[in-house]
Symmetry: C2
Subunit: 615 residues, 2 copies
C-alpha cells in the first residue's frame, strides 16, 4: 500500500546512467537560471515602498534615491559575478569557492548563509506567488497559507522528489511570458505617464523631510530592496551546463539577466511612484500597478498569473541549489551522511524533504507574510556574496595570470560593497528579524562542526586495531562463547520453536522461567522434564511479581562471570505478530522492553523471533 | 533516573505475603464502604433541583414528590442488597452474581455497566469535590479542571499505585466528620425553619402547573436523583472483610448506611426547598444551603471541606472496585491479560492507570461539569443493580432453601423496579448523554467478546502439535538449518566483530555488500580477501542506488530455495548506540527498517548487534 502510493507519487526508481545533462543554449539557459533573480521584482520594489511608507508620508519621496542605489549595487554585483563565472567553470557556489580559497570557517559561514538563503527563497517566493494570485482573486484570501503549503509540499516537493530535469522546457516558457508581461507593463505604463495627464502623484506627498527616523526608513528600504538581488549568483554555479564556449556564454547570460532585471525594477519602481501606490492589505503593489495601467483586463490577469508562476519557479531553483550543497557538506562530513546520496529517482531526496520542512515551518510561522519574511532574507544572500567575492580575490592573487589585477579589483570592490550591505541590513533590520539570521548562522556553523567531529570520532572507533591482524594482515581467528537464554512461561509450540532455534545458535542454551507462584513453577518444570528438550531450565521465583527485573538481574549475574571480549549473551524472545493491529494491545511487549533495557550492555544481544498468528 | 522517580512516587516493590486483610468492625466498615453512597448528597439533591428549575419556576414545587419517590426507591434497593449480602458472602458484585447464575451475556452486560459506572463515579465525584471547594473559595474557579486532574492523577492514581490499604483509617475520619457536619446542618436548618420566621419560599414559586414539559422535567429530576444511590452495593461486594458474624454485620451496616443517606438526602432537599435555592454558576446548592444556615462561619468551611474530602474518597472507592473487576475479566479472557496481574505494589497497576485515563478524558471533555456528567451516570448504576437482583432471583430459585420465596420476592421486586428506573433514565435523559452509555455498553460487550475470541485463537495456535512429540511424549529432536547474512559496507572493526559473532551462530555465514559504484565493490572485495575472514562475500550492484531493496530481493531469493520448516535465515546487522541522542540522527537506521520490512516473513530473523560508541 505505502509502496504503491510512493510509486504513484514519485515514480519508478531510475538507473544510474539516467543521470545525464544536456548542454544549454543561451536562450534556454537564461530563463532556467534567472527565474529566481527576475521574479524578485514581484516583491522587491513593493518592499522598498513598504519601508518608506512606514513612518508616514514624509519618506515616500526617497524611493527614487533608494532605487538608484539598488541599481548601482546590482551593477557591481553583476560585474563581480561575471568574474566568478570566469574563474570557476566547475560550479559549486560560495561554499566551493570559500573552501578552495579561504579555508574551513569561511566555507562553513558561506554554507550556513546559503542554507538560510535557500530556505528563505522558498518561503518568500511561494508566499509572493500566492500573494500575486490572491490579489487577482480575492476570494482566495482566507486560503492563503493553505495554498502556500499545498504548492510547497504538493507540487514543489513531490515534483523534485520525482526529479524534475533542470533543463525542462517547463521552466522556459513561464519565465519568457513573465518577462514579456513585465516589459509590456513598463512600456505601456511609461508611455501613458509621459503622454497622459499630469502625474497622479501629488507634490505634497513627494516632500522629503529629512530626520533620523527617515534615514532609518531609507536604510530599511534599501535593505528590503536588496532582496531583489537574490539569484544573481545562479548562473555562476551552473557554468558547466552551458554550450561552448561555456564561460563567455555564461558571462553574457548573466549580463542579459541583470539588464532585464534592472529595466523591470526601475520601471516598476517608477510606476509605483507615478501612481503613488500605498500599502494595501492582501493586494500586492505590482497588482495595483498592473490594474492602474491595464484595468481588470485579460492583460492584467496574464501579468498576475505569470508572476505567480515565475515566483513558484523561483522557489524551485532552491530545490536545485540546497540539496546538492547539503550533499557536498555531507561528503565533507559536516551534514548527516544520508543527505549525500542520491535517491531512487536520482534526486537528493532527503535534502529535498528537509528543505520543504524548513520552508514550511517558516511559511506557517509567518503565516505567509512576505514583509516579515523579507526581514530575514537579504542578510544571508549578501553574506554569501561577500564570501564568494572575497574568495575570488584570494583566488586571483594566488593565480596571478592574465588580467588578474583588474579581476582582483572588481571582486575586491564587490566584496567590500556587499560586506557593507550586510552591515546595513544587519543594523537597519536587526529588530525586525535580521537577529534571527544572525543567531541562526553561527548556530548552524556550530552544528556543522559538531557533526564533523562526531563522524571523525566514529571513524577512529571503526578503525580495525592492529592486534586483530596477524603478520600477513589476515584477521586472527576468534572463538566466540555465546550463552543463549530463552525466557519461557509455559511450554507451548512457540516456546518449542524458539528453543529449537536457540539450540542451533549455540550449544550453551538455558531456558529461564520467571514465576510469581511457586506451585506454577513446579508444574512447568514437571512438564519440561517430560518433554525433555535437552535444555537446562532455570526457575526464578519473583516474590514481588515483577517479571522483567528478575530476568535482568539474572542476566547481570551471568554477565559478571562471562565477561571476556569474546563472551556474548544472546536472549531469544518469541514475539507474536498479530493479524490485526489492535491484537498487539492484548500481548505483552516483553521483547521491546528487554531490548530497551539491555541496549546499554555490551555483548548482550536480544533476538526476537516473530511468530505470525494466523487469525 | 526513571527508576528513581518511580521508586519515589510508587515505593519499593512489595512481597507477595504482604497481601493480607484485617477484619473490620462495623464502626470502621461503615465509613470505609459508604463514602461513595453518602457523598452523593453532595450533588444528588442539587441535580434534582437543576432538572426541575430548567423549564422555569413552574416545576420547582414537585421537588417534594421527586424526593419521596427517590427515598422509596432507596428503601427497595437497600432491602434487595441486604439479600445479596446474605447469598454471596464471597464478594464479587454483579459480574460474579450474573456469571454464576445468568450466563455469559448478562455477566458481560453487568461488567460493561460497571465499567461505565466506576469510571463515571470517579469523574463525577472528583468534579463534585472540586465544586465543593471552589464554592467556598471562588478564587479557585479558573483552576477547576486543573484541580480535578491534579487530584485524579497526582493523588488518586499515585496513591492507588502505591497501594492504599482499603482499611486505612484515612477513610474513617473524613467520612464521620462529613456525616457529623451534614446531620448538624440538617438539624440546625430544620430547627431554624420550624421556629424561625415564615418559610422563605414564596407561595407563587410553589405552584405546580402540570403539563407534558413539566412531566418530562419531573422524570429527569428523578433520573438525576437516582445518582444518589450509587455505592449502595459496595458493602455486598465486601462481606468477607467484616468481622463475624460477617453476613449479619454486613446487612446491618447496609441498613445504617441507607438510613443515614435517607436522612441526609431528605434534610438537604427540605432545606433547598425552604431556602428556595436556584441554580448558581460555580456555587453548589449544598454550599448555598450551608451558607444560609451558618453564614460564612467556621462551621460552613468545615462542611465544605469535609464534603470535598468525602467526595474524593468516593472517587477512590472506584479504584478499589474497577481494577479487581478488570482482573476477573482478564482471567476469564475478556480483557487484556496484563490487567489480570498485580503490580509490584500488589495493586492492579494497569487497571488503575486505565481507570485514571478514562476518568481524566471524561473530566477534560466535560470540563468538570457535574450536571453534564450526571446525565451519563445513573443508567450504568441501575443496569448493574437490575442484573444483580435478577441474578439473585435465579439464585434463590435454584437453591430453594429457607425463606427462599420471601428472598425471591424481595429481589424480584428490586429487579423490576430498577429495570423500570433504567427505562425511565434512558428515555428522560436520552438526548442529554444517556445515549452515549447506551452506545458504550454494547460496544464494550462487543470488545470483551472479540478479546476472548482472540485469546482462544491464540491458545489454539500455541497448542503443541502431536506430531512434534514421540511415543513417550518427548519432543522429537530437530535439525535447524540457519543461514546467516551480514550486510556490510566496508570492513571496519564493527564489521569484523559482527562477522565473528555471526560465525558463532552458524557454519553457513555470508557477507553481503550492496554497492552503488562497481569500483567500490571491487575495492571492498580486495580488502576482504586480504583480511580473509573465512566468510563468503556476495557483492550486489544496485543500479538504482537503493540499498535496502536489493538486500530484501536477495533475502527473498534465498528464501525460495531455503524454505523448509527447519530452515531459518538470520540477518545480523551492526547498529551504533551513540552517546548522545542527536548522534542517532547522523546514522542510518537500517536495522530498524529491515526489521520492519522483514517482520512479515516467516523464519527470517533480524539480529541487531548494538555497538556502543565511546564518544
Amino acid at each position: 500500500m505505502m509502496r504503491l502510493l510512493r510509486r504513484l507519487l514519485i515514480g519508478r526508481p531510475l538507473h544510474n546512467f539516467e543521470l545525464a545533462r544536456e548542454k544549454l543554449p543561451k536562450w534556454k539557459a537564461l530563463p532556467i537560471f534567472s527565474s529566481d533573480a527576475l521574479s524578485s521584482v514581484g516583491y522587491g520594489p513593493e518592499q522598498v515602498m513598504l519601508a518608506l511608507a512606514a513612518p508616514g508620508i514624509v519618506a515616500y519621496g526617497f524611493m527614487l534615491h533608494v532605487s538608484v542605489a539598488i541599481l548601482l549595487l546590482l551593477a557591481i554585483v553583476t560585474t563581480s559575478y561575471i568574474q566568478v563565472t570566469r574563474a570557476n567553470p566547475g560550479g559549486g557556489g560560495s561554499y566551493a569557492v570559500a573552501k578552495a580559497n579561504l579555508g574551513e570557517f569561511p566555507a562553513l559561514l558561506a554554507a550556513a548563509s546559503l542554507f538560510a538563503d535557500y530556505t528563505l527563497t522558498v518561503a518568500v517566493s511561494v508566499s509572493s506567488g500566492t500573494a500575486a494570485i490572491i490579489s487577482a482573486f480575492p476570494a482566495l484570501v482566507p486560503h492563503e497559507v493553505t495554498i502556500d503549503l499545498a504548492v510547497l509540499f504538493g507540487v514543489l516537493m513531490v515534483a523534485n522528489l520525482r526529479g524534475v530535469r533542470e533543463a525542462s522546457s517547463l521552466f522556459v516558457w513561464p519565465t519568457y511570458a513573465f518577462i514579456f508581461g513585465m516589459l509590456a507593463l513598463v512600456a505601456v505604463g511609461a508611455y501613458q505617464a509621459i503622454t497622459g495627464a499630469a502625474p497622479l502623484i501629488s507634490p505634497q506627498s513627494m516632500q522629503r523631510q529629512f530626520d533620523w527616523l527617515v534615514l532609518f526608513a531609507i536604510l530599511r528600504a534599501f535593505a528590503n530592496g536588496c532582496s531583489s538581488m537574490t539569484g544573481i549568483e545562479a548562473i555562476s554555479n551552473g557554468v558547466k551546463m552551458f554550450r561552448r564556449p561555456a564561460v563567455s556564454n555564461a558571462g553574457r547570460t548573466t549580463m542579459y539577466m541583470s539588464l532585464i532585471l534592472a529595466v523591470m525594477f526601475a520601471g516598476i519602481a517608477f510606476l509605483m511612484m507615478h501612481y503613488h501606490v500605498m500599502p494595501q492589505p492582501k493586494v500586492t503593489a505590482l497588482s495595483v500597478v498592473a490594474e492602474n495601467t491595464f484595468g481588470r483586463s485579460i492583460v492584467y490577469y496574464f501579468i498576475q498569473i505569470t508572476t505567480m508562476l515565475v515566483l513558484y519557479l523561483a522557489a524551485n531553483t532552491s530545490f536545485n541549489g540546497l540539496p546538492p550543497l547539503l550533499s557536498l557538506l555531507a561528503r565533507d562530513g559536516y551534514a548527516p551522511r544520508y543527505l549525500g546520496v542520491r535517491g531512487e529517482r536520482l534526486s537528493f531526496s532527503n535534502g529535498i524533504i528537509l528543505l520543504s520542512i524548513f520552508a514550511g515551518i517558516l511559511i506557517y510561522t509567518f503565516q505567509g507574510n512576505v514583509e516579515h519574511l523579507i526581514s530575514l532574507y537579504a542578510i544571508g544572500v549578501f553574506m554569501s556574496f561577500t564570501i564568494a567575492q572575497w574568495g575570488m580575490v584570494v583566488h586571483w592573487r594566488r593565480k596571478r595570470t592574465g588580467r588578474w589585477r583588474v579581476s582582483c579589483a572588481i571582486n575586491g570592490t564587490g566584496a567590500v560593497v556587499t560586506a557593507a550591505v550586510v552591515l546595513i541590513i544587519g543594523v537597519a533590520k536587526f529588530s525586525e528579524g535580521a537577529w534571527m539570521v544572525i543567531v541562526f548562522i553561527p548556530a548552524t556553523i556550530f552544528v556543522f562542526k559538531k557533526i564533523r567531529s562526531h563522524y571523525n570520532d566514529v571513524a577512529e572507533q571503526l578503525h580495525l586495531p592492529e592486534d586483530e591482524l596477524d603478520e600477513n594482515g589476515r584477521l586472527r581467528p576468534r572463538q566466540i562463547n555465546n550463552k543463549v537464554l530463552v525466557p519461557i512461561a509455559t511450554p507451548t509450540s512457540v516456546v518449542v520453536e524458539s528453543i529449537a532455534y536457540a539450540k542451533s545458535l549455540s550449544s550453551d542454551v538455558t531456558a529461564v522461567n520467571i514465576v510469581t507462584d511457586e506451585e506454577i513453577g513446579r508444574r512447568v518444570r514437571k512438564r519440561w522434564e517430560k518433554l525433555d528438550p535437552e535444555v537446562e531450565l532455570v526457575t526464578i521465583y519473583s516474590s514481588t511479581r515483577l517479571v522483567i527485573q528478575p530476568l535482568l538481574d539474572y542476566i547481570e549475574e551471568l554477565e559478571r562471570e562471562h565477561n571476556g571480549p569474546d563472551d556474548y549473551i544472546t536472549v531469544v524472545i518469541p514475539e507474536f505478530e498479530p493479524q490485526r493491529w489492535w491484537h498487539r494491545l492484548l500481548h505483552n511487549q516483553t521483547g521491546w522492553v528487554l531490548r530497551t533495557r539491555l541496549i546499554l550492555k555490551t555483548n548482550v544481544i536480544v533476538v526476537t523471533i516473530p511468530f505470525h498468528l494466523k487469525k
